[in-house]
Symmetry: C2
Subunit: 198 residues, 2 copies
């Protein structure tokens, strides 16, 4: 069975991909891009390190512009990122039968509610899997350390292919400072694997 894993090059989406591969899925990594930056190249690189096939889905820039509207209106990113992630999954659910992402038990956003997930799966006749949903922070740290070599840093210094990279660029393009909207936080990117995964 083929599973498409939404992939930023970070530890959570990498761990989700490894977990599904170990369960026997034929995993392909998918990075979405809105044409703002070519930030998908970082995920491409990490996909190569994980030895997993990778594709980029170019989606309509209007979606991320709308997410930026929400963030600028709110003054913080949660609502806009939630909107963006939900929109992305709705679109990809028409293209793929099994979609997974790296959302974790202790994440607040982006996170679909139980009823949103059930509605999505029924409307689109697909499966949406969140392999890390039953794992807490400590367990994920243990598993990430077991499998990956990661590079960590402030979110404006780590080159990743997540939504945030393009959102930051768009906020800048609108003459605002992304640091006024995103709280400082540590980001990570997988730069190596510890075992012969893949």
């Amino acid at each position: 069975m083929k599973a498409y894993v939404l992939f930023s090059g970070g530890k959570d989406s990498s761990l989700s991909a490894v977990l599904l591969k170990k369960l026997g899925y034929d995993v392909e990594l998918v990075t979405v891009n809105f044409g703002v930056l070519d930030s998908y190249k970082y995920a491409q690189e990490t996909a190569g390190i994980l030895n997993l096939p990778h594709r980029v889905e170019f989606l309509d820039r209007e979606i991320i512009e709308r997410a930026v509207d929400i963030i600028l209106r709110d003054g913080y990113p949660a609502g806009g990122i939630q909107y963006l992630h939900k929109s992305v999954i709705e679109i990809l659910a028409d293209r793929y039968k099994v979609i997974a992402d790296g959302v974790r038990r202790d994440d607040r956003v982006p996170k679909l509610s139980h009823s949103e997930i059930q509605s999505l799966e029924m409307r689109k006749n697909m499966e949406y899997i969140t392999p890390l949903m039953g794992f807490g922070h400590k367990t994920i740290k243990y598993l990430v350390d077991r499998y990956f070599i990661i590079s960590q840093g402030e979110s404006d210094t780590i080159m990743k292919s997540d939504y945030e990279s393009e959102i930051r660029a768009l906020i800048k393009a609108r003459g605002k400072d992304p640091r006024d909207y995103f709280p400082k936080h540590i980001q990570s990117r997988v730069i190596g694997v510890k075992e012969g995964e893949g």
Copy 2:
């Protein structure tokens, strides 16, 4: 890392155990028993089929008697089973550093809330993992079919080591008919593995 998986011999706890094993955990299966029936022997048998070590934790019968009180009072099993599962995890969390169970995304009970889980992990300095929490009904069916040969039947005919077996016996012992409290439902038990798991 050692992980103790609460184990009934059913497909969900078996799948949780296989998943954690594939992630590299040193898995040991744990079946709880309250001294009402020797129903743990079914789980012992399935543990042998999965080729995983197994132990029985004999817990205080008062806990399950209290669960039966709740069920008889309510007229249905949800509250009593929720109480029982929570009590079991609280007790085992003092004995094991990593505990997992087979609770799934689409289960209603037994299910600890996010804040109950965070409180448990912090108070007891342990990890509570629910590996199937990110998997829906359809995905679990696919994985179970991939890994296991199962025997299915009405819940009063399948010999399992779950809470329900001992609860039914206690309801009978109190002169009531368990069928008045448990809705008819299909139970399953793992009776073989399809790949060379274990």
